[in-house]
Amino acid sequence: MATVQLAPGTTGTVVSYTVIYVPTPEFADLAPYALAVITTSVGERVLGRIEGWQQQELSIGAQVTFDRSDDRGPVFRLK
């Protein structure tokens, strides 16, 4: 997997998002999970998971903060 280099605390804006209910077998344990296209504050486009979408409303234009990268890519949290 290509690793995305993001500094801790990098912020970004949600360009679009979805919640995946029918995953590939490799992601079955995680479903449903939210994915978003994000433009970071330095202007980079990334695809990453969003945590906390069940508690807070996910929307286009929502602000997110980079939390960590795991073996399934970058993870952001809603601000």
Partner: protein, 386 residues
């Protein structure tokens, strides 16, 4: 460039089939030869569009397999793979070979056998046509990619999901009149509202099904078309274009740049404008994809495709009939067969053989076949024999 025609066309019924991969391919190919009044010995080369027979049915090296089963005697054969645009790309390969003067008669087949694979496994096989390192390993599925486009489109132009419902309802209604379609069942917005979410906002009824099927067209140089039984359909123009496999790397999620490029090239080669097209078979792998396609092809301005779908402008009696066959949504989507199947439907329409779904007086037809989330697009414009 030498002019090229379609002199034979046929397809199997799409859906869950008892036939094996090779039996499907052979059935469609033999029916296309029969349609043309041709013999196997007339065929000088075979191009076979297929996405992933190795993973779906554990069979690679499928082109010589099908050539041998058909009794084509030692002709050159090759499989062409461009994800869900494998079929149209195989057609382009055959077209180029005739246009270049290498051959006079080429058989193009598209085939896929998908239903023997469990749904989650099929979802992963299809995800291999996305950017594996940057999308699939992050959890993006194909419904997910088109859900990202749908969400962006609905937000940008202020629509609700009723525009998606309109596409699904129309295409299911059209497929009722297509004996080759997987589904013969009218659906309502209430059915869609009750169906399970696949990738929010897309539900099961926004998605094309997993299908088995095959389709075939026999191509001939225009100056050799008189050797065959049916009235030839003229290939007036085609365009093919590429883009980033990864959706998130494209600047605009509400249009497919490859489709716009491919369409411009096809219109320029054919010398026709979008307003002259009588019907279009477009790649509605998901409902949102049909709306975006009608804008990328120039039928409607950006943002107007949603309203056009809702207002019935793409119905069989609308301004520009889109997917009279039922489309991928309801005719079915055996990946490698789909692009060839669109050409088969366009051929039937231009020969006046489309039965209850016939668009009266159709003279110009367009097909639009995309691979992945739009990293490949092939647009073809066909004309009735004059």
């Amino acid at each position: 460039m030498r002019a090229v025609t379609i002199v034979g066309a046929a397809e199997t019924k799409f859906g869950k089939s008892e036939l094996s991969y090779r039996e499907l391919a052979v059935a469609a190919a033999q029916a296309a030869l029969e349609d043309a009044g041709a013999e196997a010995s007339d065929v000088e080369a075979l191009f076979l569009g297929s996405y992933s027979p190795g993973t779906f049915v554990h069979q690679e090296h499928v082109a010589p397999l099908v050539a041998w089963e058909l009794g084509l005697s030692h002709v050159p054969s090759a499989r062409v793979e461009n994800a869900c645009a494998s079929g149209a790309t195989a057609f382009v390969s055959g077209l180029m070979a005739i246009a270049a003067g290498l051959y006079d008669v080429v058989l193009v087949v598209g085939a896929e056998k998908m239903t023997s694979t469990p749904v989650t496994e099929a979802t992963r096989i299809l995800a291999e046509a996305a950017d594996w390192e940057n999308e699939s390993t992050i959890g993006l599925t194909f419904p997910g990619a088109f859900a990202l486009m749908a969400r962006a489109y609905l937000h940008k132009y202020g629509y609700g999901r009723d525009i998606l419902d309109a596409v699904a309802v129309k295409n299911h209604a059209n497929a009722v009149h297509n004996p080759y379609a997987q589904f013969h069942k009218v659906i309502t917005p209430e059915d869609i509202a009750k169906s399970a979410l696949v990738a929010d906002p897309l539900t099961l009824y926004d998605c094309s099904p997993i299908s088995d099927g095959a389709a075939a067209v026999l191509l001939a140089a225009a100056d050799a078309a008189h050797n065959f039984a049916k009235e030839p359909v003229r290939v007036l123009g085609f365009g093919q274009a590429s883009d980033s496999l990864a959706l998130f790397r494209r600047p605009d999620l509400t249009t497919l740049a490859a489709a716009r490029q491919a369409a411009q090239r096809a219109y320029r080669m054919a010398g026709v404008s979008p307003g002259e097209i009588d019907l279009a078979e477009v790649h509605d792998c998901f409902t949102i994809a049909e709306i975006i396609a009608t804008e990328d092809l120039g039928f409607f301005e950006p943002g107007a495709g949603g309203e056009a779908a809702r207002a019935g402008a793409t119905a069989r009696d609308g301004r520009i009939p889109v997917n009279p066959s039922g489309g991928l949504k309801a005719k079915g989507h055996p990946v490698g067969a789909t692009g060839v199947g669109q050409l088969v439907e366009a051929t039937f329409q231009l020969r006046g053989e489309a039965g209850a779904r016939q668009i009266d007086g159709a003279e110009l037809a367009l097909t639009h076949n995309i691979g992945g989330s739009g990293a490949t697009c092939v647009v073809t414009i066909l004309g009735r024999s004059t």
